[in-house]
């Protein structure tokens, strides 16, 4: 089957879905259509993609993306790749957990690292990082902390636990606090020599 035929087949079965081929993958232009399309691919006799291999989040600066790799265990075919794109600020994609149980942890992982919110997910929490962690560390604009400079909150904590803190460190933390900055990791000044 050629790509165009597959696309037509899906669109005749599900009128109103906007699809587009991106290389070898099928982009679902409206993410809300994703469960419909996946359900069709899973149940239709022709495809039977009953096995969701991988769910991946990705950050393309302008938008976030979720990539789904579908295979068929029954027909031993695949992969069939679906992708859905959402804006960085309102990253909401319907969850595929009702269709594929295997998406459960993988969607939690994508939420944890990229902050894509999967609607109707039964238990959408952070999976690797702890609750209370701020930011989504795999996004390209995430900035890590500088792990060698103590901040005001650290000093406060240490003093509460009766730990002696050297004056220099205290001073530095105060300066940072005055400037309203966090101690974050900085970019290297020059590109590393080859």
């Amino acid at each position: 089957m050629t790509p165009e035929e597959i696309k037509n087949k899906i669109q005749t079965a599900l009128p109103g879905t906007a699809l587009k081929w991106v290389r070898d993958t099928l982009l679902i232009e409206n993410p809300q259509d994703l469960p419909k399309v996946a359900n069709f691919l899973k149940t239709s006799e022709e495809f039977r993609f009953d096995y969701l291999s991988s769910v991946t989040g990705a950050d393309y600066l302008q938008y976030l993306e979720a990539v789904y790799h579908l295979y068929s265990m029954e027909k031993k075919t695949g992969p069939f790749v679906l992708r859905a794109r959402v804006g960085r600020d309102q990253a909401r994609i319907p969850s595929l957990v009702p269709l594929y149980r295997g998406a459960e942890y993988q969607e939690r992982e994508a939420y944890d690292t990229y902050g894509i919110i999967f609607e109707n997910h039964p238990d959408l929490r952070r999976i690797f990082m702890w609750e209370g962690f701020e930011g989504f560390p795999m996004r390209k604009d995430y900035v890590q902390e500088d792990s060698e400079i103590l901040e005001a909150s650290d000093i406060e904590w240490l003093e509460k636990h009766q730990v002696q803190v050297p004056e220099g460190m205290k001073k530095r933390a105060e300066e940072l606090k005055k400037q309203g900055r966090r101690a974050v990791a900085e970019r290297p000044g020059q590109p590393e020599p080859q």
Binding site: M129, P137, Y142, E145, E148, E151, G189, P191
Partner: protein, 250 residues
């Protein structure tokens, strides 16, 4: 590492002479340390890859039992030695410190592998602690990724030498006012609070790695995303071969 050897008041030559006659002369210190160093019970506590090498050390081929350290205890309260075998992540660090606090005196720590010494290959990760020595004192550092079982045995022997250098009248755990419990860090919004315990560890004054590479490797060094939507002209075979084999200009 230089450890002070225990000074025995009995002359070595005399000792060996007496030994031939079946008389063993030893100081109390020697007896005390001999007993302690020959039955170090490590904690059965593995974090990552190095734990597998730790298990291999305990197995028949390397046989850690020859050093009296085969009895891996699952509880910190029964163990003398904590082998921090593997990467300590920020999520795991509070638990490691708590385990250390729960160990009874005398207690020793071996950091096994580059990760637990300083972060190792994973040093740039956002969730990786750069060395457990930021929160607890370490007795023996054991580099390698992972260290071979022989290396762990060597580390154990170094620890035994350290134990040999201790004297019963000066050991810390018989002194008053001993503080060998360290505050357990907490998970904060950006990492651990505090980032390190200044009583145990302080940043280096000159950090060559930081000077050269910046700190740490950042996500998002790139500012242009690939455009996969763009049509592919002539599909891979020829094009990729030429583009891949050209050395880059940068």
């Amino acid at each position: 590492m230089a450890f002070t050897e225990n000074l025995s008041s009995v002359d070595g030559g005399l000792k060996s002479e007496l030994g031939k006659k079946g008389i063993v002369v030893a100081t109390l210190n020697e007896l005390y340390n001999w007993g302690r160093r020959s039955s170090i019970w490590p904690m059965q506590f593995g974090l990552a890859c190095c734990a597998i090498e730790m298990i291999a050390t305990a197995c028949a081929r390397y046989d850690i039992a020859r050093f009296g350290a085969e009895l891996f205890r699952p509880s910190p309260r029964q163990s003398d030695l904590m082998i921090v075998a593997g990467t300590v992540t920020k999520k795991m660090a509070p638990q490691v410190v708590r385990l250390y606090n729960q160990m009874a005196e005398p207690k020793y720590v071996i950091t096994m592998g580059a990760c637990s010494i300083a972060g190792g290959p994973f040093i740039d990760g956002y969730n990786v602690l750069r060395g457990i020595d930021r929160y607890i004192p370490i007795d023996v550092h054991l580099p390698g990724c992972p260290p071979r079982p022989e290396a762990l045995l060597y580390g154990l022997m170094e620890l035994q030498r350290k134990i040999d250098g201790q004297t019963i009248e000066k050991t810390e755990w018989y002194q008053k006012g001993l503080k060998r419990e360290y505050p357990v860090p907490e998970c904060g919004p950006h990492g651990l609070i505090p980032k390190f315990n200044p009583e145990v560890w302080a940043p280096r004054e000159v950090d060559h790695r930081k000077e050269r590479y910046g700190e740490p490797v950042l996500i998002g060094k790139k500012d242009k995303a690939p455009n996969l939507d763009a049509p592919v002209a002539a599909r891979p075979a020829a094009t990729s071969a030429s583009s891949a084999s050209q050395p880059s200009a940068s």
